[in-house]
């Protein structure tokens, strides 16, 4: 029977669902505004491009307006300009100023335009709004037609509409528009075609794809039949700029014999774009490079692109989706496979790496690939997968903690439930573990009638390994102590058993004492454990130690036995190093001196009172500091 893993199916479905949404969003270019912003960064980062020196901008800037009067300036000046440029040997004169109404000076202007024979004049279409974002822009009429007499005089005409993106910036340019089922060229486009030796009839239009010239040369267009503008640099940084008034004045000066402001011979062979660039001119738009970029810069950039035959283009939607999928797979692979602490580093590398790739594609390769979706989805995929991993680990930890809590119960079952009562001896023990399972152990037994054996031990290390070792030590102690009541013999046998199989680097320190109520004596043996504190009924404190006796489980060794008499009413305190090494938040240890001082005040206390007082003192000392070791205290009152 096929088993369904519903959790996996759910995760897979969720991932597929989100992937589908992202692919859909990327395909429909919903967040293109962000994509534009990231494209602009690339525009700004690339160096200044190659500019053809034949391109000249004749600017009607503030200086011209102030010298020649107000805008619109008299058309007789345009006539003069055309004559001046024509006589200087300009290759082409392209006006980025429309002439839709008759004005003074038209006759002279028409005459000079006709005479020059290389003047391109514009008109402005009114764009059919619903044709935006379709395969081609369509005109529904003229917003500013060209005067018929000028149209006849010009070598050719074209529209000069600029159609900014949604955010108002001009990044794209329509080389063609459809009007009454005919293609109409953009003014610069037709001038550049002529410059390259082609006529408008030589082009073949593949809407939303490309323009093929003379079955050979290809100009890439986007899905809306727009060309992505290749701005070579900031305004003023590129192209040759001349003042309109300077040209006129130099020409007039040449006639009247005055010294010309500029040498008009410089304009021989130039393609002159005449445009209004004065402050507050309506013909200025934000570009990726500058917040205000004169419209004529758009024309010169297109002309420059065509002359250098270098075009930018945008990778199509499928290409971008393919990149997206590759990056997802890479991010998932790195998140899943790399060690968790390196994963963020890999993520940053992928992000930075892809940003560099996208820049290199843009410059020098001229390809605009999407950056926004890949960056957002890399981070998204990483976050989702890290979260998934985190949740898995939380689950695992919960399971482990549950198991540890069970282990704690099992461990507690190794320790005695009831303390046997022998004569007047009273024993009290309290053990507090630092983690859920600990390494401290104790036992209270009656090895023979009238005798009471007490054992305390501390396994090295903490947590599960110590707890497992503790279980082993307890069971060995039970076996060995049942056979022999002789304390050093018990430790020797235990040590032999434990050291024989010592592999784990674990060991146990231990004190074993046996009290004889009939003779009021006791004997003890210590294996590397803390000395026992003896408090006489009068409050005198002494430490019960031995000369020899290593911790059990390390290596073969001998254990000394000490026999002593006890005075009834004495108190014997056994403890683990968790007591002396208990630390406060200033990292100070409780220490043996403090313990001895405390013990001296316990004369007369019952076993329980003594244990509780000591615990209380230790926890008052440690305050809010975390308990880092098991704390076990056992007291025997004789």
């Amino acid at each position: 029977m096929v088993k369904f893993n519903f959790s996996k199916i759910f995760h897979f479905s969720a991932a597929a669902f989100f992937a589908a949404i992202l692919i859909f969003l990327s395909y429909s270019r919903v967040f293109d505004d962000f994509e534009f912003k990231l494209l602009d960064v690339r525009y700004r980062l690339r160096p200044v491009g190659e500019v053809d020196q034949e391109i000249v901008i004749i600017e009607i800037a503030d200086d011209t307006i102030s010298r020649l009067g107000e805008w619109p300036i008299d058309r007789s000046y345009h006539a003069l300009l055309v004559r001046a440029l024509s006589e200087a040997g300009a290759e082409k004169i392209i006006f980025d100023i429309f002439f839709s109404e008759k004005r003074h000076g038209d006759e002279q202007f028409v005459y000079q335009v006709e005479r020059a024979g290389n003047v391109y004049l514009p008109y402005v279409f009114s764009i059919y709004p619903h044709s935006r974002n379709t395969r081609i822009l369509r005109a529904e009429g003229y917003a500013a037609p060209l005067l018929p007499e000028l149209e006849r005089a010009a070598v050719d005409t074209g529209y000069i509409n600029i159609d900014p993106d949604r955010d108002g910036k001009v990044r794209r340019f329509p080389p063609l528009m459809k009007y009454e089922e005919e293609y109409y060229p953009q003014l610069t486009f037709i001038a550049a075609l002529h410059r390259l030796g082609y006529a408008f009839d030589d082009i073949e239009v593949h809407q939303g794809k490309k323009i093929v010239i003379d079955n050979d040369l290809v100009i890439p267009m986007d899905e809306n039949s727009m060309i992505l503008l290749d701005y070579p640099g900031r305004w003023g940084e590129v192209f040759r700029h001349y003042s309109y008034a300077d040209v006129i004045q130099s020409y007039m000066g040449g006639i009247s014999g005055d010294t010309p402001l500029i040498n008009l011979e410089e304009l021989e062979g130039a393609v002159c774009f005449v445009a209004l660039t004065a402050t507050a001119s309506p013909d200025a738009h934000p570009s990726p490079l500058e917040t205000l970029y004169p419209g004529v810069g758009v024309h010169t950039s297109l002309y420059n692109s065509m002359l250098n035959w270098s075009f930018l283009r945008r990778l199509n939607r499928l290409g971008n989706i393919l990149i997206l999928i590759v990056l997802w797979v890479l991010t998932i692979y790195l998140t899943e496979q790399s060690p968790r602490r390196y994963a963020p580093m890999f993520l940053v590398l992928v992000l930075a790496g892809f940003s560099v790739v996208s820049f290199v594609c843009f410059w020098p390769l001229g390809l605009w690939i999407d950056l926004f979706y890949p960056l957002v989805t890399i981070v998204g995929v990483y976050t989702a997968f890290s979260f998934k991993k985190y949740m898995e680990e939380v689950k695992k930890r919960e399971v482990i903690e549950k198991e540890l809590s069970i282990a704690k119960h099992i461990q507690e079952s190794f320790l005695p439930d009831e303390i046997p009562s022998v004569g007047s001896l009273k024993v009290y023990v309290r053990m507090l573990t630092a983690r859920q399972v600990g390494g401290d152990l104790f036992d209270v037994i009656e090895p023979e009638i009238g005798k009471l054996g007490v054992m305390i031990g501390d396994v090295s290390g903490k947590g599960v390994p110590a707890a497992l070792y503790m279980a082993r030590v307890m069971s060995i102690f039970k076996t060995v102590s049942a056979d022999s009541g002789e304390v050093s013999g018990v430790l020797e046998k235990m040590n032999r058993t434990l050291a024989f199989k010592a592999r784990s680097g674990l060991f146990v320190t231990m004190t074993y004492m046996v009290f004889d109520v009939e003779t009021n004596t006791f004997n003890y043996s210590i294996g590397g454990h803390m000395p026992t504190i003896e408090v006489s009924p009068g409050g005198e404190v002494s430490l019960l130690d031995v000369e020899e006796g290593l911790p059990l489980g390390m290596m073969e060794g001998a254990y000394k036995r000490v026999n002593k008499k006890y005075v009834p009413g004495s108190l014997y305190i056994l403890y683990s190093d968790g007591v002396t090494e208990a630390m406060n938040s200033q990292k100070e240890m409780f220490g043996q001196e403090r313990l001895i001082e405390l013990a001296s005040s316990l004369a007369g206390a019952t076993a329980k009172e003594a244990v509780m007082r000591m615990h209380e003192e230790v926890f008052t000392f440690t305050g809010k500091a975390e308990q880092h070791d098991d704390i076990t205290i056992m007291a025997i009152k004789t």
Binding site: S460, G461, K462, G505, F507, G528
Partner: protein, 110 residues
């Protein structure tokens, strides 16, 4: 934790600094195992800059000592700080380790 070794005549003097605890004791153990394989059977461990030793650190030292003895080598501990010495004394390990106050004395005693 940091381990530095220098060789004086045929004696390896190994200086251990920092904490020798559950997170570093395995490294100490492995270090001395490989030292022993390189035939370094006269070893002084200078503990002068050790701040803390826990039970796993003690276990590591005992292991090293056992292996040294098994291969006929000699191990001495020098410059043992008071706190660490106290731990050796409580566990009676001071009885099985040869502890010398000073590194030079330890060198002279070979």
């Amino acid at each position: 934790m940091r381990i530095e070794k220098k060789k004086k005549n045929d004696v390896s003097v190994v200086k251990v600094s920092g904490d020798i605890d559950i997170s570093s004791s395995q490294e100490v153990r492995q270090y001395f195992e490989s030292l022993l394989e390189e035939n370094g059977n006269k070893v002084i461990i200078n503990l002068g800059e050790v701040e803390y030793v826990d039970s796993s650190g003690l276990a590591a030292f005992v292991d090293i000592l056992k292996k040294m003895r098994a291969s006929g080598g000699t191990l001495k501990l020098s410059n043992v700080p008071g706190k660490v010495k106290g731990l050796f004394e409580i566990t009676k390990l001071d009885k099985i380790f040869d502890m010398v106050d000073d590194e030079d004395d330890a060198l002279d005693s070979f």
